[in-house]
């Protein structure tokens, strides 16, 4: 730093603030919300509003009702699907039963039409002791 810069540095050294400066600043900050707490305070005050409390309670009730309706709907759908499956199984069994009856009938008819000699031959071809 050369001599001129040194002079400049001395000329621009810090000055004391005027008397009572800090008090004036603090007086102007009075009434202002404290920073940092501001958001929490506002949020707390907002939550404390009776209208908001009522709205929150109503929203909670609505939520519970909606959850109940959804649950009931789901149960009902499962019940309907189960019922439909039961009907389909019954129908399948009925069809199978009809088909079996037809087959048995045909077997009986064949047995009735075939002569006994031919039946004997058929029996001899089988291993002994199977037909009593």
């Amino acid at each position: 730093m050369n001599p001129f810069e040194e002079k400049l540095r001395n000329a621009l050294r810090r000055e004391a603030a005027p008397e009572g400066f800090a008090e004036k600043v603090l007086a102007r900050t009075r009434g202002l919300p404290q920073p940092g707490e501001k958001a929490w305070r506002q949020f707390g005050a907002f939550l404390a509003l009776p209208v908001l409390r009522g709205a929150l309670a109503a929203a909670a009730v609505c939520l519970v009702i909606a959850a109940g309706v959804v649950h009931h709907e789901r149960q009902e759908r499962w019940r309907r699907e189960g019922e439909m499956a039961r009907v389909q199984v019954r129908q399948a069994l009925r069809i199978a039963s009809v088909k079996l009856n037809v087959a048995r009938k045909k077997v009986r008819e064949i047995n009735r039409e075939t002569p006994p000699s031919r039946l004997k031959c058929a029996v001899h071809e089988r291993p002994q002791g199977v037909i009593t």
Partner: protein, 184 residues
């Protein structure tokens, strides 16, 4: 800025965050001289400088929750004080450039007498353009290096360097003419 001052700043911030109402008063006490002096050397008017300094501390009060450390606090104060001072200068109607007659108050016998010399130099600084003034005040009052000044004023380091050189040339020239007048 000494380590002790920074530690006090950190402590003040921590106390303020904990909700200590007196912490802000301590922060103001700690930094009022710096803020007031920057504004005063900028505006060369104690009343307006006090107004600007109060405004800076009120802004600090609103933003204190976002200040992260003692270093950050000092940086923030310097930056906001410079900006606020520049705004204050620009708000006023342009004054005619200070003549040497305005600058010199050769009432004393010797120009080397400190108070006279200092007063003359302060007036010369106040006659510089706002941008040049900011660089000179931060350099010689706050004794900051060029990189710090660049960061505070948000300008490149080379701009700081050229503004400082140009300002020193102007000030030196004015000073020599003034000193010659005083000696005559």
């Amino acid at each position: 800025m000494t380590t002790a001052t920074l530690q006090q700043g950190e402590e003040g911030l921590a106390r303020f965050i904990r909700g200590d109402a007196t912490a802000f008063a301590d922060i103001v006490q700690e930094h009022q001289s710096m803020v007031f002096s920057i504004a005063y050397h900028f505006l060369h008017d104690r009343g307006r400088a006090e107004e600007v300094a109060q405004d800076v501390f009120l802004r600090l009060y609103r933003h204190l929750a976002s200040i992260k450390s003692g270093n950050h606090l000092v940086f923030w104060l310097r930056k906001v004080t410079c900006r606020r001072s520049i705004d204050e200068v620009r708000k006023l109607p342009k004054a005619p450039p200070a003549s040497l007659e305005d600058v010199a108050e050769p009432a004393a016998e010797s120009p080397d007498l400190d108070p006279l010399l200092s007063r003359g130099l302060r007036r010369m600084v106040a006659s510089l353009s706002e941008d040049a003034r900011a660089v000179v005040v931060l350099r010689y009052q706050e004794e900051l290096d060029l990189a710090d000044i660049a960061e505070i004023l948000d300008i490149p380091v080379n701009t700081v360097k050229s503004r400082l050189q140009r300002s020193l040339e102007i000030l030196r020239e004015k000073f020599h003419r003034w000193a010659g007048d005083v000696q005559r």
